[in-house]
Symmetry: C2
Subunit: 393 residues, 2 copies
Amino acid sequence: MIEQIRGGVCAPAGFLCGSASAGIKNPEATREDVAIILSEVKASVAATFTTNKVKAAPVLISMEHLAAGDVRAVVLNSGNANACTGAVGKKDARQMAAIVAEAHDLSPEQVLICSTGRIGVPLPMDRVEKGLKKIRLKDKGSLKCAKAIMTSDTYPKEISCRVETANGVFHIGGIAKGAGMIDPNMATMLCVITTDAVVPQGALQRALRASVEDSFNRITIDGDMSTNDTVIALANGASGVRPTQAELIEALNAVGQTLAREIVLDGEGVTKFVEIELSGAASASDARLAAEAIANSTLVKCAWAGGDPNWGRIMDALGYCGADLREDKVDIDYDDQALVRGGLVASTPWKKVRAVAAKKEFKISVRLGLGKFSHTVWTTDLTEEYVRLNLGE
Amino acid sequence: MIEQIRGGVCAPAGFLCGSASAGIKNPEATREDVAIILSEVKASVAATFTTNKVKAAPVLISMEHLAAGDVRAVVLNSGNANACTGAVGKKDARQMAAIVAEAHDLSPEQVLICSTGRIGVPLPMDRVEKGLKKIRLKDKGSLKCAKAIMTSDTYPKEISCRVETANGVFHIGGIAKGAGMIDPNMATMLCVITTDAVVPQGALQRALRASVEDSFNRITIDGDMSTNDTVIALANGASGVRPTQAELIEALNAVGQTLAREIVLDGEGVTKFVEIELSGAASASDARLAAEAIANSTLVKCAWAGGDPNWGRIMDALGYCGADLREDKVDIDYDDQALVRGGLVASTPWKKVRAVAAKKEFKISVRLGLGKFSHTVWTTDLTEEYVRLNLGE
């Protein structure tokens, strides 16, 4: 049984966190922009990173540290993504880990680094160092950390759960920041999950990978994938409870799906949350291609913004996405209303389908009728507000 | 030597055209919405169609008629795309060809069909028939035909040229309508090109394919590809002049590139015309992937709308597009201003790069430094106006 509790990343036993203001984006600002999350005891670690070939320095250095296999802490900052910063950027990311390691009696390889914010500009390392040294770690303060890593997010994203299993109780918590993209450059999806479950490192990595597929990898707001996207999980075993792999994935999903959903709902200029369930595809890659083509079509997204259940644009996206398609086999529903049957518009009264498209949240089921593969994505409409927020400088 | 002249599709000898009002979208409206273009004598024909797997009925039937190899006329309508209309749609497209064939002493297979407008709704064939029968063909009236096929276009698109070769003079003309996508469903890019040059059918097909690659296939406004996109060329030999293949392609480019450019400039809510010249890719498909990823990134396009030469978003798009990439080899210029060198921001004063991005037209050169393949696309910004126009019902 999974029950929501308070505490965020400090809800599991043996985790500390803290945040401070470093004035990274603006030396005058007092807003907190650096944070540290740390396990008091040895922990298993798992992480997934952006597949973008342009990887930010903190991603590259974190990958190195992850490979060393003994991670205890994560340092995060907003205001600067440390991306497209070359050799200087890598040196700075290593330096961030070293500062945290020195202050908390770790080796630099035991620290992963997450950065988000402006790209192409070196970090102001003097201010970063001063800020990080101000941080006092406590067994609470998760929400302040969630706030410190916000960029264009309008609210902090945090969740924690108590998980009851046949073998006992463990806890899991997480904070995240959104995929929102804003002035002056694109930002990033970051998430740190902590748990006091007992989990060997390999099992944690497999479980995290499975869970990310069904949570953060379902999100597609604008098709753009950041240089910094990172999800990290730390399991320190402090509960003494070892869950089954299924229980662990369920717990990771409870945290990851909630945070992923909030990231979508808090996307820039978003007025709709749309789930697209694509089934009946001839292959797994076809299912993903088709679902993402619908989710990323600017025309489909504009129609949703207008409350228009535009099936023509969906058929069009299915046609150009590259997936195997038989036009006369396609069925489309908006929630429980039939919109397309066999590639032709269904007899459902239009106002019933419109009523679904007028809602803030709805689900579109698309069945290709060619095979057994399916894929689900979570996406949003595309609004004038989104464009306004992304006009840049 | 190529010189612009008047006359549109009737500038070449031996071509007639005409248009009329059929009230397809609205029986009360008097706006013209059907048109016919016809060669008085036997002609070579070539065509390229949408690669969307959801093909409108007129595309499917035109492909059949093209295969028969003896085309003399094209019938076009706006107001209804006859797409996603199943068996009824195919019957109606055949019927349109039959009506034109009967009125002008042709067989139905000698007529190609182009439709654009609303999708998923059968054509009002009684009104279409009445409208088509009203058309009187003349050796002028090309601009009226260009107007009759408009949907969201704000002006008709027509051009014609006199081409002087070593062997004599021939003429070429064309009309087109835009790729703009608008209420209530997506529309289509249509183009008909006529020439009185002497061209065997195979040579015409090869030349058209080459020319479309360097004109209409360069256009990408929103990444959505219509169900109806069609480019048709008719060559009736009435000039008695046989151009070389190079001369023919040059003439087709003069017409096709002008019309393609106008389609981009007349795109919905467009305020910028942007040429992206991607070079140094490791393969031809990489060059296309990378150029199109930049052109179709909503974030990059929003930045242009704001006059922001946002290189971070371009680097990001290069990173996720799937093309081979070495971040530290990427160079980017805005017109003649260096913006990125070796993956890092160049030393060019920012206001100089901004001044380029503030222009209505500019060129972005991206060099990947990995190989000899290149690809050019023409695209636009993404504005609040675009979203407003595409909100649907």
